[in-house]
Symmetry: C2
Subunit: 307 residues, 2 copies
């Protein structure tokens, strides 16, 4: 899929803005990536540097017909206005009219949403939730991104809501990265898993989630306990969401989902205990499958907003 | 509003099916109640007796132009098929095709939904959430009915979902009426409030929620503690839902909402601590205001499904 093709068809610039990397890609109307680049988020953390980089990308792709720009931002966004309220892990981006600024500089329509919502859009159109009318998405990492597709669309208000990672599962619980307490992130986030494992192992080695996964596969008691507790919390929590949304599919992505085949049966068992049974009919729990869902979702966000 | 008027206009039969009373009413297209009757739920608990009563109502109203029948049922329903999965407090109604049976006997279109969803519809069209695109509803009683209006419509799937009263706020919590554990109902339901008050008062008198309310207004320490704990749980829980739905309004109804003016500031304080601040803009917390929202909502359910 080279530049010959991209000259003659409509394309969309999708930007997947993560805490470590910013990935940009040119997609076609079917969500296929035609060109792709990766940058360090640190180098683009300043607003003017970020904007200049996007403009230079558009110039580099000037032989292609770019119809619009879509951005999945790691934080809370006014999706109607493309206005960034704040990005928890990137200081300085507070109350910033990204859409306005970038539209003026690029002369292209710009659409901004939360990164988890954009991930969900990609999986709902082209991934494991393809064709689903109602689906729940969680990206399991250090932070917990959440999204809901309802009636085929991202569930949101004026704000990029849909933040199911920040629903509490405990009263007066552990302080969460969002400012609240006891959110599901504090039960199943990577940081909690590692710290719980350290406690059980009675040492402070710098474990990673994949170590806990591997050790559990080898039958180690402490590692298995971590995944059992993880599954009990995640399954119980998802059971409540199933009572709200009656989803057809729940999609789990992110680094922690690397242990999916280990925890899937345990999560399902806890989920089935919590949810009302009519809501379980036809429900499936799957792992996200797309490569680069952030780029694809951001591009599709722009495409669908335009049409 | 007498029979003269109801002869010449289109009307809808709304049935508000509660655990204690069944209320039926004839409403006009604007949701005004033209005729109304109340029955004991116990006397109509058998399926054939219930169906016969509805048919006899239609005959009694035969001089009116009834276009359709709407029913708010106290349980889990397939809303597309009008099929009752089960009613927790009314044994015997399991896997029953209510819509099919009643349509054959009445020759009228029949629509069935959950009672809390129907309550929400009435409040969203004519009550305190009038005009809201996104609203959250809780009926605070012995059980906790929940509903969500999103983009102006009841949020549901194939099943009468929207069951926010059955989302857990604790892991391995108290057993809930729904079969799950630790649902918000087990923290703020009337039964919990009374039992907590008995524990604090160190006696087993048969208190009612209104006693705890009155005693709190008189400054009694134990009663105030009950409402403080109630508010902490309800506010924290609602904060999580606000992160999902970015609602414009939260509507509280049911008997326990009699203490609304006492607990409102405490609930709001806890909610604001939990929710992400951009979601709080323009949010209001109000008490339900309609008389007979169950009848009106059931009638509107039929009217809107028909149009």
């Amino acid at each position: 899929m080279g530049s010959e093709r991209s000259r003659t068809i409509d394309t969309y610039l999708g930007i997947d803005w993560g805490g470590t990397y910013i990935k940009s890609g040119l997609i076609d109307a079917r969500g296929r990536i035609l060109k792709q680049e990766t940058f360090s988020s640190r180098q683009l953390k300043k607003k003017d540097v970020f904007i200049d980089k996007v403009i230079s990308l558009i110039k580099a792709y000037r032989t292609c017909t770019i119809k619009a720009i879509g951005i999945g931002a790691p934080g809370i966004v006014d999706t109607k206005k493309g206005f960034i309220y704040y990005l928890p892990n990137i200081p300085g981006w507070i109350n910033y009219p990204l859409k306005n600024v970038l539209e003026k500089k690029s002369n292209l329509p710009v659409f901004v949403d939360n990164d988890a919502n954009v991930f969900a859009l990609a999986e709902a159109r082209l991934g494991t939730a393809k064709g689903a009318r109602r689906a729940i998405f969680l990206t399991l990492g250090t932070g917990l991104g959440g999204a809901v597709i309802w009636n085929g669309k991202i569930l949101e208000g004026n704000v990029s809501a849909s933040e199911i990672g920040h629903v509490p599962l405990a009263l007066a619980g552990t302080r969460c990265s969002c400012g609240g307490r006891g959110c599901i992130e504090t039960f199943v986030g990577a940081q909690h898993l590692v710290s719980r494992y350290q406690t059980l192992k009675k040492n402070t080695s710098s474990y990673e989630v994949k170590d806990i996964f591997r050790n559990a596969l080898n039958g180690e008691k402490e590692a298995l306990t971590v995944w059992q507790e993880f599954s009990q919390a995640l399954g119980t929590f998802l059971g409540g969401l199933v009572n709200i949304f009656n989803p057809e599919v729940i999609v789990l992505g992110g680094g922690v989902a690397g242990a999916f085949r280990l925890f899937k049966p345990l999560v399902l068992a806890a989920l089935k205990k919590q949810a009302m049974w009519p809501n379980l009919k036809g429900l499936s729990l799957v792992r996200a499958k797309l490569k680069n869902p952030g780029i694809i979702g951001a591009g599709l966000l722009a495409k669908e907003a335009l049409n």
